[in-house]
Symmetry: C2
């Protein structure tokens, strides 16, 4: 497949449309990364590096501050939502919201801002929608950590053109309830693990998640059974029932505190194994660069409830926030779209702040 060259001087809506119409499901970002790289290499004010299917383009003006503007190139799988379609002031299509609209804004700024007041590192990366160890930022941090040095990272994830600060942590765990197998014709000889699991599910149903205030932002936690699996055969009392949990915890809790918290909610006597835990990120509204951007935008920061690469930057020592076009609730939906007005607004505001 030949991918058309990207015209970074085109209108931001047309550029978003071109990005949407270049399919780039996770793992298949190659052609889009090639097009992005070629367009950026044509710009003499930028130094361009490529790591896998991620592209990094930097100004080198010797400014006092450096800001990362980042967006992932990949999308979740298509859901009958290609090609892009413009209607009623909205651009519909796979990735329009999450997050090719944000990528288009960043590409436009990369081309337009030849001498910003802050040095800028633009990062367009692969595999954000899949396992963390395939994530392009993870790979760049491992192979070329110097490319991610900055005073602030702005992730252009959909945040309705507002600022979403920090993000909640995620803890995944399996609770295994044991019993004893038996033929259902003699069920009393066994112990039904599915029946025993009622107490775990009831504890989850009864639990009222907390609302934690950090830096004035309310992080609403969650604890959900996302899977229940029991069953040996149609005539066998099951000896095992596995309940998979997904907990979202406020960034003020450490992963260890989150685990202790969840363990206290689950009735004892069952196996509890943490399968994954990633810390959240504190909002960091006291960082100078963060405060400057928030002041400039004149918006009240909101808490980010989902996990984003903001947490990854935080762990790398770079304060970060989400600021991008698109309603985050539309992400991963077949009907996702981005408001044309938000594309223009984000481009204008972020451009003004970077120009200084």
């Amino acid at each position: 497949m030949t991918t058309a060259a990207l015209d970074l001087t085109a209108d931001v809506v047309e550029l978003t449309r071109a990005l949407v119409d270049t399919p780039s499901e996770s793992g298949a970002e190659g052609p889009l990364a090639d097009a992005v790289e070629a367009a950026l290499r044509a710009l003499p004010h930028l130094t361009v590096d490529r790591v896998g299917h991620s592209v990094v383009a930097r100004t080198a003006l010797g400014r006092a501050e450096r800001v990362i503007v980042a967006g992932h190139l990949d999308t979740v799988p298509a859901a009958g939502n290609l090609p892009a379609r413009l209607a009623d002031g909205r651009l519909y299509g796979l990735g329009a919201c999450d997050m090719k609209g944000g990528v288009a804004v960043a590409l436009r700024l990369a081309a337009a801002l030849t001498a910003p007041a802050r040095d800028v590192t633009y990062v367009f990366y692969e595999c954000e929608e899949v396992e963390g160890d395939r994530n392009g930022l993870h790979r760049i941090a491992a192979d070329r950590p110097e490319l991610l040095a900055a005073d602030l990272a702005i992730l252009m994830e959909p945040s309705d053109a507002g600022v979403e600060a920090g993000c909640q942590g995620v803890l995944c765990a399996d609770v295994t309830v044991r019993g004893t197998r038996a033929h259902t014709a003699r069920a009393w000889r066994g112990e039904n693990a599915a029946h025993r699991s009622a107490e775990v599910l009831q504890a989850l149903a009864d639990h009222v998640p907390e609302r934690v205030i950090v830096d004035g932002l309310e992080y609403r936690e969650g604890l959900s059974a996302v899977a229940v699996r029991a069953g040996v055969a149609g005539n066998v009392v099951p000896d095992t029932c596995v309940i998979s949990l997904n907990a979202r915890f406020a960034p003020s809790r450490s992963p260890q505190e989150a685990e202790e918290y969840v363990r206290r909610i689950i009735p004892g006597g069952h196996e509890f194994v943490v399968t994954e835990v990633v810390p959240g990120a504190l909002p960091g509204l006291d960082h100078a660069a963060v405060a400057s951007l928030v002041d400039f935008l004149g918006v009240a920061p909101r808490p980010k409830l989902g996990w984003t690469d903001v947490a990854r930057f935080t762990r790398l020592g770079v304060p970060a926030l989400n600021f991008g076009p698109g309603d985050p609730v539309l992400a991963h939906t077949a009907g996702e779209f981005v408001e044309v007005g938000q594309l223009a607004e984000c481009e204008r505001k972020l451009g003004e702040w970077l120009r200084g």
Copy 2:
């Protein structure tokens, strides 16, 4: 594969061994059915018919009573338990208990009893261990119903050389608990179907099954969740949780009564769909032929808790019971065996009663 001819004059243990060593998992009974058919056709006192991989052999002596002696030829899949092995007075191997020991007894009697006091119909049939519509008896009843006319059917299913009378019915149902999907980062926007299912599982855990007395026999009922399935993705609040039930009900309840009974136990507000229901069979100890055999054997009948083809014969209007060598609890276990002593005992007792 060439299957060795069966020698029906061989010792019952050697004959059982030969049957075990002729593999016949459900659907692959052909070679064993061929061998059984050939051996029976060599006997001039029997009329032999073949239906699929089932073989029916009858005396036609004009006796006042006709008795069916039946055994299925198929086994569950092998579990490293072939070939047969004789040790400590036990014959081990796939199907030794369920139910090639019983088949061997029936074959020996078919060969030996040239002029029994009761006419006998020997039925060796296929596909008992799988779906009911593949069952050899089902097919014979459909294609050649006259072959199954009788005053009593003796199923040589393992019953520890005792009489197991009647059998419980089986009701399978799916309870579907509904909720609303949501991203786990905003779990409160959804309703977790797995959490809601706690009340169903708790009701099952709290339920104490009844013990129902019929004809002096105690049928101990059961109601088990045999499967629980919920889960959309690791970060999604599930909108559906399906709990599959397997109920065993006393033969004094009709299928409709059994369904009403189970519905009363499950909390309301959830979808309840019966996926399968098969009635049980009353013990029928008041039938003359049944009473005669039970008296002759001098054993106290026990209730059959699992479902067997006794129920199928009952529906065909033929009183039926289980009487065969082997401990029923060993059926379908890798270590199944049959006591050599029980093989001889069953052959002797049943032979004496049929001779009259």
